[in-house]
């Protein structure tokens, strides 16, 4: 009886999932921390976000049907962040603290994760031109001196140009 209970606790794909997480969790948590605009060493919101996304990924693991689990988890992460973004995700530091939630989403997906413009647009439910415009705007905001934004917290590496 006890043996059966233990087996029920651990579904068939536990090993597969653990292997996947061992390789992907670091990168996903980095992306999540950029999204929530928290400092890397104090990122409770990013951790919650990633835990929720991975919970969902694991729950539907046997229905992946050949899809890349990393893509799936990233998609889940982005969708969850987008859904909660209306709750005024003001950045509290982090490199993208000066950007709004949607700008952060686009920058992290396009430049941080290298997701294609079309895929990003589909994921966020936006037209491609809009994704492009947001990306350009954000890049400009991040690479120009803080005075253009009038925001002293706009953490910027000294733009060498």
């Amino acid at each position: 009886m006890r043996h059966r209970q233990v087996r029920q606790q651990q579904p068939l794909h536990a090993g597969e999932f653990e292997a996947f997480v061992a390789g992907a969790a670091g990168r996903l948590l980095h992306a999540a921390t950029l999204l929530t605009a928290e400092p890397p060493d104090a990122n409770p919101r990013a951790r919650t976000l990633l835990t929720d996304a991975l919970t969902q990924t694991y729950a539907s693991w046997d229905r992946l049907r050949g899809e890349d689990p990393y893509d799936r988890a990233r998609q889940e992460l982005a969708a969850r962040f987008a859904r909660s973004a209306w709750r005024a995700h003001r950045g509290r530091g982090g490199v993208l603290g000066a950007l709004g939630p949607q700008e952060r989403l686009v920058v992290v997906l396009r430049l941080g994760e290298g997701v294609a413009e079309e895929q990003t647009a589909a994921l966020l439910g936006l037209p491609v031109e809009r994704v492009r415009a947001i990306c350009h705007r954000s890049v400009a905001a991040l690479t120009s001196p803080p005075r253009t934004r009038g925001d002293a917290t706009a953490t910027m590496t000294a733009a060498p140009s």
């Binding site: 029920q8 606790q9 651990q10 579904p11 536990a14 999932f17 653990e18 997480v21 969790a25 670091g26 990168r27 948590l29 980095h30 921390t33 950029l34 890397p40 060493d41 990122n43 990013a46 951790r47 990633l50 835990t51 991975l54 919970t55 969902q56 990924t57 694991y58 729950a59 539907s60 693991w61 046997d62 490199v95 993208l96 920058v107 992290v108 430049l111 941080g112 415009a133 350009h136 705007r137 954000s138 890049v139 400009a140 991040l142 690479t143 590496t157 733009a159 140009s161």
Partner: protein, 88 residues
């Protein structure tokens, strides 16, 4: 936004990519444990809900078949014409 030369934009995008590639946070081990525990529970709950749905559907189908074979609604109903009115 003013139009920008592509190579300049490329350079700025590279700059942002480097910016994003900063220090990575450490993954706390309990994060994965939590996700697996909750994910397994959610998966089991879904499997249970699916089973229940199938059960309800098959019972409904069975009930329909029994009802139809007893009632045979495809046969014309027995004639129930009103008797002619006489004696007016």
């Amino acid at each position: 936004m003013s139009p920008e030369r592509p190579e300049r934009r490329e350079r700025r995008e590279d700059q942002v990519r480097r910016l994003l590639d900063g220090p990575h946070p450490a993954v706390p081990p309990e994060l994965v444990v939590d996700a697996m525990r909750r994910g397994a529970r959610r998966g089991r709950r879904r499997a249970r809900a699916r089973r229940l749905l199938w059960l309800v559907l098959s019972v409904a189908f069975l009930v329909f078949v029994v009802w139809a074979s007893v009632e045979q609604p495809w046969n014309p109903p027995p004639a129930e014409t009103t008797p002619p009115l006489n004696g007016w």
